[in-house]
Symmetry: C2
Subunit: 350 residues, 2 copies
């Protein structure tokens, strides 16, 4: 069967199962969007982390895209500090805003804690801990100041309901949820921003070719379509189809009024700009942020209809703290979003 | 080139690069083993989490095996509580002993904390927090008792140096490190136990076929060997070779005196026992622990030369706490290890 590009997204949604969480996540997003729409607060849908492509129905093996979720989790904090409400659509167990400062650190989080009165775990306590029925567990003095600052921001975001955390795992869950959330956000019009930092797989295994059980190393793999080219019965051939280009649907149908920002991660410096331009031409959205795997924490390039602009962190001096590049990316994106809002307002008045 | 099974492991180590951490991890293990050998303490090498198979040299995509590392991290705590020293060879960012109680929970770890004097984040504080220069950050009262118990066990293990955490990511790093650690542990003789709970990939992409850069969705993929069977240049064909059977080498050469326990995870109940028996026959090690993906937290089966034995958690009543199955598995494994030690002692005396 030959599927035209226009049909292939529809076909994808018809032949893949939606995640069991879809109704719940849609309802949560509906209430969240309503609250912030009423408060005239801009809302960003921020996607983060890698997607997985299961190779088996009862999933033991899957193909994954590299992403700890640092870009997304860090950006979310800066969007919050600039007055946006954030829907954080993230890969389960990837980094989260605020807790990211501690969760993937070389320290286990228990290393930050001690019993009340103990300075460090090496020090003998003076019997205090044993005397009290249940001693307090406190953050060690040397970590206290920073943790307090993070904790206060986190609690404020929670209290004001400014951050909605929605997890996904597979590329299919991601796409179903993205579509549903975009539709919930249509009432926001131009005030909606899509910041698509998740590393989404370009390929998937269609349900019709998915193995039911764990693929056995002695099997002729059932994933290989007709099994041609499988030599010796000991190799594994994984035959993946391209994921339809959903960005086009998002721009044209699911979120026609919103500002849409996509990311392009490459490893070859020679290809970065051309891939960004190609993406912008193909999907006609607002901004592509290009980055190389090796330098992604120090420089990115903004590619839009006005041209290209590199954003780089200042050279870290010996005394200066490391600047998070997201502290530069997010305000620059917000500036473009505000300019777009101004232009549309002006346009509407004329 | 035809590679005989005996040569294939050697060939694997000759054609794949060791991880950059190998020397450091080997030195850490050397000191750790020496300390506990001197103290006549048994040592378990516990592997945990899934391995990855990179599809590109500058890795964006990889094949992963499902494993959060729950079995390994939980088992490590029970080995510690039974007097074993634990080398915890784990997938980076998988669950760790002790911190596992909090890190993959539905709560963010910041949810466990509050400023001193605040009961919960919903409650207005009486100005205390603002008055102090830097208020204490404490674990909330309702979590304190349990956290204190976990923290004390964690700190004791650290203080006595009973737990060595060594991370890996790829299947190649895992295999190089396993080999090096096994050789470091030879001095322990029968006192060494291998508890191989990691989900190790059966397949890998040999360096000669690895793509240098991120595979482009428009490319004819370079992973597909000669590219035959690639239709339209839009599909992705991943062509993987079997990973040599290292368990045989471990049993025969790297750790000939140790007790070796492997795990078998299946999804098809019909295949579980036969796969366990096949593994035991093929590698001639001591024990295979079989488990099904769907019931792995409630039942496992021990398969060894003496026969099979199911281990199941008691039916959870309404009042009873959930029993961790590792609290049953680990003592049963230790019993078998102690019996083996007794038999060898008796055998040596005769």
């Amino acid at each position: 069967m030959n599927i035209t590009p226009e049909l292939s997204e529809t076909h994808y949604f018809e032949t893949n199962l939606p995640p069991s969480t879809l109704a719940e996540h849609t309802a949560l997003a509906n209430a969240f969007v309503k609250q912030h729409h009423d408060a005239k607060r801009p809302v960003v849908l921020l996607t983060s982390g890698g997607t997985t492509v299961p190779l088996e129905n009862q999933t033991v093996r899957f193909i994954d895209n590299f992403s700890a979720g640092t870009r997304g989790a860090t950006s979310a904090e800066y969007f919050l500090s600039h007055g946006y409400a954030v829907i954080f659509l993230h890969r389960q167990f990837s980094l989260l805003p605020f807790s990211r400062h501690y969760s993937h650190s070389t320290n286990c989080f228990l290393d930050f804690l001690s019993e009340w009165g103990r300075i460090g775990e090496d020090e003998e306590d003076g019997g205090k801990a044993e005397q009290a029925a249940t001693p307090d567990v406190v953050v060690k003095a040397k970590y206290r100041q920073e943790m307090l600052s993070v904790l206060r921001k986190y609690q404020e975001a929670k209290k004001k309901n400014l951050l909605l955390l929605l997890p996904f795992t597979t590329v299919t869950s991601y796409l179903f949820t993205l579509k549903a959330l975009a539709c919930e956000m249509q009432c926001l019009g131009n005030e909606a921003l899509f910041y698509l930092a998740a590393a989404v797989s370009d390929f998937f295994v269609p349900p019709s070719r998915m193995a039911e059980h764990k693929i056995q190393s002695g099997d002729i793999p059932s994933l290989g379509g007709d099994g041609s080219g499988v030599g010796g019965g000991k190799k594994l051939i994984v035959d993946l189809d391209p994921v339809p280009k959903f960005l086009k649907r998002l721009v044209e149908q699911w979120a026609p009024q919103a500002m849409i920002v996509s990311f392009k991660l490459e490893t070859d410096p020679q290809m970065l700009l051309s891939k960004c331009r190609q993406s912008l031409e193909r999907y006609s959205h607002h901004l592509v942020i290009g980055n190389l795997l090796s330098t992604r924490k120090r420089e990115v390039v903004f590619v839009d209809r006005e041209g290209i602009e590199w954003i780089r962190t200042p050279e870290a001096g010996q005394d200066s703290e490391e600047v998070e590049i997201e502290s530069l990316i997010v305000p620059a994106v917000i500036r473009k979003h505000q300019e777009m809002l101004e232009r549309r307002k002006t346009g509407a008045k004329k």
